[in-house]
């Protein structure tokens, strides 16, 4: 068979039920193989849309996403999704076409050094040099993408090699001598961590995206409730711990709650789980949690002591480590009463500084109200994707996520245009669930073309655009930190989003009255098929509270 037919067999063997892609000259053989392969292929309108859709699929299901593109511009259009998947540890295999081997290095038509371009932003990459290497490389790519700290893997296949005839033998093993992720977690370290927790009086659990991709949500709840440990999550970790829970402090970091940030500031022991002390979490690093010692549980040893020195590092899989930590902690039978003082301090912050906004007295829709309305209309159950900006932070604050994989956003790279295609991928992976995308009017336009894909494929996503006619987060920074000198942030009322939706064959709706908003949202959610709702919100509302960039948590404003 041809190497590309073997590729199809490999994809099936890996359980890839769907791929997102766009054909071109260099991957014509692959597309020919799709005719008979029996794998669902979703034709996207832009490779970036396909890449983010594969990410959304992977984030919603926990399975490996697959995105395809041709050589040159097809591959370079995948650069943003690859980098995004790297920053947020998303398991995606990106398969790109490449020019024929005889043209490699000659600046051939649609030639780009895909491996060179993506090397710093991929977990690993393969340039196929012999057709026989292809099956093994595909399996190794899936293995690398999904194990250890998940991430993107690129496989670049020259066109002539993909057509070559090979004898296909199923591959049942992978041989990667240099790739042996640590998953177990050192028992001695776990006991030490339990002891430290038992002796702490002001502990905080700081959980990140690692808990979500490590499928350790249940284990986290078990651990946190082994005592009354206060829990905060990063923007990537939201849903890892149920937001409606008495030990929940809210998100931490730049737009986190005051209680979460103040608790971190005064903590004597912080137990970080699958989190990486990003600058949006720590603020000024030297003033981050100045009184605390750190337990750091992470599957990636390079994250340990990268930004914040760890006193008790535990390298391994959270799902594996947390039950053992819980058991070790219970065995010590610490007195739960020692946390009472800590909790009364936290409760005082929660009472004094709840998340709040000034609601309008008339029909005007405040953006925070819009999120609350959507939470109500979906009964808090929907899978929610978002783009990047104010709407993302308001969603993180006001949509109370209750389970892992319910919240899908671009945290690390901060990619505008991520939400709509990610929702498409999530809906393909979880057709039984309501999938909504909360977007900004600026960011939705960055991948709005995928509405056509949704219509063609019958992918019934619901897109709610928080429309303020501004690049809102940048406007907020210009208002607060650049003396209100607005520079190129006003986008105005264009395009007409209702017509845009209709032009793609989707349903377009507009909402401008808060009094009917919940009913309008319910109506949109009930429509069979993709819907885009243009929600006109207060134009110049700011996302608060906020730790100004590079400042300590104590200096929160708003």
């Amino acid at each position: 068979m041809r190497a590309v037919d073997a590729l199809m067999e490999c994809l099936k063997a890996e359980g890839a039920e769907v791929v997102f892609g766009l054909p071109g000259g260099a991957n014509l053989p692959t597309y020919d193989a799709f005719c008979d392969a029996g794998i669902r292929h979703i034709l996207v309108r832009h490779e970036a849309g396909g890449g983010h859709a594969a990410e959304g699929y992977a984030k919603a299901t926990g399975r490996v996403g697959v995105a395809l593109a041709t050589s040159g511009p097809g591959a370079t259009n995948l650069v943003t999704p690859i980098c995004d998947a790297m920053m947020d540890s998303v398991p995606v295999v990106f398969i790109t076409g490449q020019v024929r081997t005889e043209l490699l290095g000659t600046d051939g038509f649609q030639e780009a050094d895909t491996i060179g371009i993506t090397m710093p932003i991929a977990k690993h990459s393969f340039l196929i040099q012999q057709p026989l290497e292809l099956p093994r490389s595909i399996h190794e790519a899936f293995h690398i993408a999904r194990t250890g700290r998940p991430g993107p893997v690129v496989v670049d296949i020259p066109q002539d090699l993909s057509r070559a005839a090979i004898t296909y033998e199923p591959v049942s093993d992978v041989r990667l001598p240099g790739y042996q992720p640590t998953t177990e977690g050192n028992q001695k370290q776990i006991r030490l961590a339990a002891k430290a927790l038992a002796n702490s009086r002001r502990p905080v659990i700081y959980a990140g995206g690692g808990v979500v991709c490590g499928e350790a949500g249940t284990e986290l709840i078990e651990f946190a409730t082994a005592d009354r440990f206060p829990v905060t999550c990063t923007v990537m970790g939201l849903g890892a711990f149920p937001a409606p829970h008495e030990q929940w402090l809210g998100m931490l970091g730049m737009h986190g709650t005051r209680s979460a940030n103040y608790a971190i500031d005064e903590a004597d022991l912080i137990c970080a789980i699958g989190a990486r002390f990003d600058d949006r979490v720590t603020g000024q690093l030297t003033e981050f949690a100045p009184r605390a010692k750190f337990i750091h549980i992470d599957i990636d040893p390079a994250e340990i002591s990268k930004n914040v020195p760890a006193h008790i590092p535990i390298v391994g899989d959270a799902r594996n480590i947390l039950p053992r930590l819980t058991a070790a902690y219970r065995a010590l039978a610490p007195d739960p009463a020692r946390l009472e003082g800590w909790w009364s301090r936290i409760r005082a912050w929660q009472q004094r500084h709840p998340l709040r906004y000034d609601d309008s007295a008339d029909s005007e829709i405040k953006p925070q109200f819009m999120i609350e309305a959507l939470y109500e209309a979906t009964a808090g159950e929907a899978i929610v994707t978002s783009d990047v900006g104010q709407h993302q932070m308001w969603t993180a604050q006001y949509f109370h996520f209750s389970r892992p994989r319910q919240w899908i956003n671009s945290g690390g790279l901060g990619t505008m245009g991520f939400g709509l295609p990610a929702a498409m991928g999530a809906k393909v992976g979880r057709p039984d669930q309501t999938v909504v995308c909360i977007a900004g009017d600026g960011s939705v336009q960055m991948n709005a073309q995928e509405l056509a894909t949704c219509v063609q494929e019958g992918i019934a996503i619901k897109v709610f655009v928080m429309n303020n006619g501004y690049l809102g987060m940048v406007r907020q920074w210009q208002e607060l930190f650049w003396d209100g000198r607005y520079s190129h942030v006003e986008t105005g009322p264009w395009p007409d989003l209702v017509k845009l939706a209709q032009a793609h064959g989707a349903t377009g709706m507009r909402c401008a009255d808060k009094r009917t908003l919940v009913t309008d949202f319910k109506e949109a959610l009930a429509i069979d098929g993709p819907v885009l709702v243009d929600v006109r919100v207060t134009r110049e509302e700011n996302t608060f509270p906020m730790i100004p960039a590079g400042k300590p948590a104590r200096d929160m404003v708003g």
Binding site: Y179, A198, S305, A310
Partner: protein
């Protein structure tokens, strides 16, 4: 806030940061990598984007043709060595990394020096070469080319001594290293 019920009390104040972050000395890393195209680019790229400076780098085959050895030196005062090695370990093609202990390691570098040496200076240059057990591999009327092997420090010392004669050119390979005794590097 009662005392914890555990007998085995641990004071959080006693906890110290695990591992030394900056050592302040030169490190020689011996890295075994799969002999595949692009591996050196991956390592060089990693160093560049993480802001680590490579002082010297030498690449060559090992007894196993599928594996190459990269010997790399860097300054532990400027870089947290554990971060460097952990980041290197994340590269799928990197099989093994040894941060070699200076006292248990033999390291050598090869250098070629082209030194200005006419009749008046040649004898003195030759004398220095003898002390360093360096070899003169080419002589012309106005210059000599000298081959020196030794540790990085020895080559540095040689360079300092011959520089006043006029150093026309020099080339150094960077150190390679191997562990003393029977054990594997």
């Amino acid at each position: 806030m009662g005392e914890p019920a555990t007998k085995d009390v641990l004071s959080l104040d006693e906890l110290e940061v695990a591992g030394q972050l900056r050592t302040g000395r030169k490190h020689i890393l011996s890295i075994l990598v799969e002999n595949k195209p692009g591996v050196l680019t991956r390592i060089a790229g990693l160093f560049a984007r993480r802001g680590f400076n490579i002082d010297t780098l030498a690449v060559g085959p090992t007894a196993d043709e599928k594996i190459s050895r990269i010997t790399l030196t860097l300054d532990g005062a400027k870089h947290p060595i554990d971060q460097v090695t952990k980041q290197l370990h994340k590269l799928v093609n990197v099989i093994k990394i040894r941060d070699l202990e200076p006292q248990d390691t033999l390291s050598r570098e090869l250098a070629l020096f082209k030194i200005s040496a006419d009749d008046s200076g040649r004898a003195e240059v030759m004398q220095i070469c003898e002390i360093f057990r360096a070899k003169i591999v080419d002589v012309s009327r106005r210059s000599v080319v000298v081959e020196v092997t030794g540790t990085c420090d020895k080559v540095d010392a040689f360079e300092r001594l011959v520089r006043p004669f006029g150093l026309v050119e020099m080339g150094r390979t960077g150190e390679i290293a191997i562990a003393r005794g029977r054990g594997e590097t």
